[in-house]
């Protein structure tokens, strides 16, 4: 998945030609709208082509041919494709992603419950990635081409290259089963539901526990969060360390560094006081994109830790060929990704006028 690091930067370098803030914004929004329309069409095709037959599932395993036909009729599966696409799009407009075949609940309400849990996990992982990856990158840049640099480069590349599902299994076996340092699985200790019940506002458990002052559940959630967050953080940590290192080394070849050196600043000081700020900006914008990738990677991790997020939901949906659920997850994550991309571009255009030109 190293492509995630290399490409988005290239993406942004090739775009942007016309000057003028208003026109740039319009162009960018129109572009995003076209992409969203394409994404919707593509998920529709995927949803229609998936082998799970909604009618069979809806009518039950021992349904008669007549019951099956009635179910197909009711679900509109025999309508012509353009009409089906219209139903799909108008459903989307009403916030209707269909009904999941494995939970028998509206996909929207399933996602409303699963997405916050994933944001909690992936969000913590991203914070960890910045807290660990950034200093690693700085250290590597400070000692560029020496042994420390070598160690950081190798280490971060290992983090980027490790199969997360395997890492999750290994970490779970070692740190919780064998050593007993962390809980095996779950979001928090369910016994607490009876001793200190949680009031839910956002479905992000740690956040809700924090704002309602529910310390037992907050502590338990954080304790449960450590292992999965560390595993999910592996990839973004490696990417952040690599990007920070590369950006800092590139920055250190700028003229101002030579001047600062001449003025007698020590190398680490130069890095932190003068180079970090300009170098860090592309790294931080990348975070938004890595976030979407990491969200998908959680499909491979959450089920192992029984984390009730979108990853577990998707893994279950794959197992039961749950057409509406898979299409719904695909659409929502793609939309998150497009929005993140758009937000990054727009803020960049607003903050840094240079990016408006080529």
């Amino acid at each position: 998945m190293t492509t995630a690091t290399a490409h988005p930067v290239a993406v942004r370098r090739t775009r942007r030609r016309s000057p003028g803030l208003g026109r740039v914004l319009l162009r960018r929004l129109a572009h995003a709208a076209v992409v969203v329309a394409g994404v919707v069409c593509l998920t529709f095709v995927i949803a229609r082509q998936l082998p799970g037959d909604e009618a069979v599932t809806a009518a039950g395993a021992r349904a008669t041919p007549e019951q099956l036909a009635a179910a197909r009729e009711r679900l509109g599966l025999d309508d012509p494709l353009p009409l089906q696409l219209w139903h799909y799009v108008s459903g989307l407009a009403r916030g209707d992603l269909g009904t999941s075949l494995h939970t028998r609940q509206p996909v929207v309400s399933d996602l409303g419950r699963a997405l916050p849990a994933s944001l909690e996990l992936v969000g913590s992982a991203m914070v960890l990635a910045v807290l660990i990856g950034l200093p690693l990158g700085v250290i590597a840049a400070r000692f560029a081409r020496r042994r420390t640099d070598l160690a950081v480069r190798t280490g971060s590349m290992l983090l980027v290259s490790v199969p997360v599902f395997w890492l999750a299994l290994a970490v779970q076996l070692l740190l919780s089963t064998k050593l007993g340092w962390f809980p095996v699985a779950g979001e928090y200790d369910r016994v607490l539901d009876s001793t200190s019940p949680l009031t839910v506002y956002t479905n992000i458990t740690a956040f809700d526990a924090l704002i309602t002052g529910n310390w037992p559940i907050l502590l338990s959630t954080l304790h449960h969060l450590v292992l999965p967050a560390l595993v999910v953080a592996a990839y973004p940590t490696g990417v952040v360390a690599q990007m920070t290192r590369a950006a800092l080394i590139e920055e250190s070849q700028q003229d101002h560094v030579r001047m600062e050196r001449a003025l007698g600043f020590r190398p680490l000081e130069i890095l932190l006081r003068f180079s970090l700020r300009p170098a860090i900006s592309p790294v931080l914008t990348l975070l938004a994109l890595i976030f979407a990738y990491t969200l998908v990677n959680s499909v491979l991790v959450e089920a192992i830790f029984n984390w009730p997020g979108i990853g577990t939901y998707t893994a279950d949906a794959i197992r039961s060929v749950d057409t509406p659920a898979i299409a719904g997850v695909t659409l929502v994550i793609a939309l998150v990704y497009v929005t993140a991309n758009l937000a990054v571009d727009l803020t960049q255009i607003a903050i840094d006028p240079r990016t408006r030109k080529s």
Binding site: T2, A4, L50, L150, M157, W166, L169
Partner: protein, 289 residues
């Protein structure tokens, strides 16, 4: 291919080999993986176990002199299957990269050279594909198709080609207005010959760098698909599939999961390390480093 590498690049390659230890080690590790893949039928301890043979009486044996990495649930030698798994993974990686770079570079060259609405249409389509994180789209596509190595290849290639289209497009569009292209056009050369003879070769260097960077990612994605049951199927030896099969007995038989996982890590790591090294050596923008 060598003609596309300018001389300084060769020199840089040599310098790379001499100085950059991790890259060198990665190259050696990769050579070992490739050798294991190619020679598996000759050097694997139980070659038949790599394909169809089973030995139910010898199932779930721990690592020993006879089975260095133990045996799986139907008594197959894990070491043999890890070696055969290298064949599968390298084959998938090669097929995906060839397929996606061919499609991507062709479309990208056409888009970059033509400009105008042709370019707009092609690039908007790539934008739509790029709006999906790679694993997500592969996953959705793999669910549609019948599980197997071929499916994994198609599903991954479908999410990888847009990157190449984009690279080729930008490379092609930068040379579109160069003088020699104009003169070729004045000489009355047909469009496809200009694309084939001038545009295509010029977009190759960034594509080659990208190919080496992508191999690790493809291997990880393929393993992930197989782990989810959407990629390779029995009796194919595949690392992700082996991890999935051993997962439920990981606490009691650790070896079934551990060794294939290490193989994925080692291979992906070597490709990524080598790709980074190549990029630094070949990418002219990074000379200063």
């Amino acid at each position: 291919m060598s003609t596309t590498l300018p001389i300084p690049a060769r020199r840089r390659l040599r310098r790379l080999a001499g100085q950059d230890l991790p890259t060198l080690l990665a190259a050696v590790a990769l050579l070992i993986v490739v050798a294991a893949a190619l020679l598996a039928p000759l050097v694997a301890p139980y070659p038949a176990d790599g394909t169809t043979a089973t030995h139910p009486a010898a199932s779930l044996l721990g690592p020993s002199g006879a089975h260095w990495m133990g045996t799986d649930a139907v008594g197959r030698d894990i070491l043999t299957r890890v070696m055969y798994g290298a064949r599968t993974s390298l084959f998938i990686a090669a097929a995906v990269l060839v397929l996606s770079s061919t499609v991507g570079v062709l479309l990208g060259c056409v888009a970059g050279y033509s400009g105008g609405w042709v370019s707009d249409v092609i690039m908007r389509v790539t934008d739509v594909f790029l709006a999906f994180p790679a694993l997500l789209l592969s996953l959705a596509l793999a669910v549609i198709l019948r599980p197997g190595v071929g499916t994994a290849i198609i599903a991954i290639a479908a999410t990888w080609w847009p990157w190449y289209a984009r690279l080729a497009c930008s490379a092609a569009s930068t040379i579109r207005h160069r003088a020699y292209i104009d003169s070729a056009r004045c000489l009355g050369l047909p469009r496809w010959r200009i694309v084939a003879e001038h545009v295509l070769p010029n977009s190759l260097t960034p594509v080659i760098v990208q190919l080496s960077l992508d191999a690790g990612g493809v291997i990880l994605t393929a393993a992930a698909l197989s782990y989810l049951g959407l990629g390779a199927v029995e009796p194919t030896s595949e690392w992700g599939l082996m991890v999935q099969q051993g997962q439920s007995s990981f606490t009691t038989e650790w070896w079934i999961v551990t060794f294939p996982g290490l193989a994925i890590l080692l291979t992906a790591f070597s490709f990524n390390m080598l790709g980074e090294g190549l990029r630094q050596a070949l990418d002219p923008r990074k000379v200063a480093r």
